[in-house]
Symmetry: C2
């Protein structure tokens, strides 16, 4: 499967990378000098974006002047290149003008195009502006705090990236069976708002508008879960969501000795999720003492031995020492990314028993595959490539982003 990707930032690049890590030949094209996300933070001392390197692993990269008619012709030729496994275009660029679906499919009638936008009407929007509208920042953070708290994680972009990969595979399935291509559309705010609804929050607001939904610190919603501090000042999260998790938490921490007392004071039945949620402050009060008297290592050992659902809070730096990032987990391999360094790099989180797992591939340098793609896919010869280079319609590998002017 070959996918041409015209993209920037998270959702479309992530959708393309998901497919690349499953073995697709994903060719990302960018304006000469790099797209809008080419310098996205975090960046290395040499100006290489660790974000860009993270979002484009396993792809091929071509640099083409997208403002030049001949550049646009080259991209159009890549998108509409014949072949059973080609004819797929994934983009979050405006699907208008030279990138209009009806125009592109003049070159290939069975073209599949997945077009992502900010809103359902095609207007633009980014994760940072959609997230405030979802309602979640209003219920995130400490109790009583008036200000909203944003998500640092671009969760909606990530969800849209997943939807994009699913949509492209569904359209591929349709084409394989019927021969018909199509335009597949999805938008960031549609994905975000549908997810708010999927979690029951739209139904809740609509059917019980008087019920207030307030910030509730780090308590789990609707059952028991809360963070605690150990004697040596480490934060941990413990969860008693399911009956088994609750029983393990009760018996491991000795909370069961206070069960009757808590039930009486809080007027609840702790066997029910609702009861545990309504008594969460009482429960937390007892557990706080348990954690205050134990070091992190002692607490961890006891919680593990008791089968409690819990997890440590970690900084990004501490995450590096998590055993799940170690060589024991085949997800991460130490790979060198030019301009950044050698560090643990993930492959696909999907494991397929019928296919050997591919080695984790780094991101390309911008324009690393310009000549290779144009010669092998479009059949351009050295003379034609030289002419395009001379006229600055295409460009080869960039190894030093700082040498480029910002767009």
């Amino acid at each position: 499967m070959r996918v041409i990707e015209g993209s920037a930032f998270v959702a479309a690049p992530l959708g393309g990378m998901t497919l690349a890590q499953l073995g697709a030949d994903v060719i990302r094209f960018d304006q000469i000098g790099g797209g809008l996300d080419y310098r996205r933070w975090p960046v290395s001392a040499t100006g290489h974006s660790m974000f860009w390197a993270g979002m484009n692993k396993g792809k091929r990269s071509v640099q083409i002047d997208l403002r030049h008619p001949e550049g646009r012709e080259l991209i159009t030729a890549l998108i509409t290149d014949p072949g059973d496994d080609g004819g797929m275009f994934l983009t979050n660029f405006p699907a208008t003008g030279w990138l209009d679906y009806e125009r592109l499919r003049l070159g290939r009638a069975d073209l599949i195009m997945v077009a992502l936008s900010g809103n359902y009407d095609g207007t633009s929007e980014v994760d940072y502006t959609v997230n405030p509208a979802t309602g979640f920042p209003m219920v995130t953070g400490p109790r009583g705090q008036h200000e909203p708290v944003n998500s640092v994680l671009p969760a909606w972009d990530i969800a849209l990236g997943g939807i994009a990969a699913t949509g492209l595979l569904a359209a591929d399935r349709h084409r394989h069976r019927t021969g018909a291509g199509q335009l597949v559309r999805a938008s960031l705010s549609d994905v975000a708002f549908s997810m708010v609804a999927n979690l029951g929050r739209v139904a809740q607001a609509h059917t019980t508008p008087d019920s207030s939904v307030e910030k509730d610190g780090n308590f789990l919603y609707g059952s028991f879960g809360a963070p605690f501090v150990t004697k040596d000042q480490r934060f941990v999260m413990v969860v008693g969501l399911t009956p088994r998790q609750w029983k393990a938490l009760e018996s491991t921490t000795g909370l069961d000795r206070y069960r009757t007392q808590i039930e009486r004071v809080a007027g609840v039945d702790l066997e029910t999720e609702t009861g545990r949620f309504n008594a969460r402050d009482h429960i937390a009060q007892h557990l706080r003492l348990w954690f205050e008297h134990r070091s992190f290592d002692d607490a961890a050992a006891a919680l593990d031995a008791g089968g409690v659902a819990w997890g440590p809070y970690q900084s990004f730096l501490q995450l590096l020492d998590d055993p799940r990032l170690s060589a024991a987990n085949p997800l991460f391999t130490s790979v060198e990314q030019p301009g950044i360094g050698t560090y643990p790099m993930p492959g696909s989180p999907l494991y397929f028993s019928a296919v050997d797992r591919a080695d984790t591939r780094r991101a390309p340098q911008l324009g690393e595959h310009t000549d290779e793609v144009l010669s092998t896919v479009l059949g351009l010869d050295d003379h034609e490539l030289g002419r395009l280079h001379d006229r600055h319609i295409i460009a080869g590998p960039v190894s030093h982003p700082n040498a480029l002017a910002e767009p």
Copy 2:
């Protein structure tokens, strides 16, 4: 395509619902009385879970005693039922014992099974315990706050649900071309940690361990974006991430008059993302005055007219009035969900030009399709169904969850 789903909570149900909303016949089976997520909050006054209704739209539901050998035989028969479009099983139940892949495929050699787990080694984990380990709660929330801030949104579950749908479609593609089924595995912490890495945070921690990554309030990371309060006390988020967004923000708010001053005081070049990020407090100081002097409506009109990237903060209740949830957007339709009410319900966020968009379908009642599925898919006759009901191996529709004892 028919998918049998054995699941609870978010990731697996969401993966199944994604496929159901694309037209797949997704049959979710549950223990009689409902699975672990059957009462998940938010719930209606009658005990119906709005969460469960949200995560299972468009599926069929069967209730079977999963502890009884005959119940397990029925499920196994559904999973291994012959037919080109069947033989797909999506689950987050432990893939062991009677649900072991090798055991199940004795009944159908080309079985596709997508098995989700908490960690890559099959051990359990939930979003609430994985999220603290990712590093994000440590950098979320107001500057200087010591305590971590959890995400209220189960973002990693949502990401895993997307990966599950993609993995199933990829395995279907492989089977369609080669005839071979397979076991596809993915885990919550693998998805979470790979996403942390995809965003550049693992590379950053590994290559620049001395660089501190601290809580930074609601500022956008690596460029300019921040929240402001209007004269009438509404919060809005504005973003100047790309050159176009930055120019629009500068000219609309009159910030350009202070450009030279900010650049001199902060010692930066505001044309660069790095410059805007490093001067974010200076920029915010000027913008704060602009918003303090304007009502929300006036600010919104000016920002829209100037083409600024911005968005309002909304509560879940205010989200109901967002035009993107109105009848103008085909994503949402007013649908009745028994036991909860009639409210805006989303269909698939994917739009396919080659396929008519299906009406949005509500969630089933627990066990609503037990008899229908067992008779049409497995060919059981009324006599056999009656016998299974009498022996409490299967059960029909539940309309009043409160009548059931909690598990």
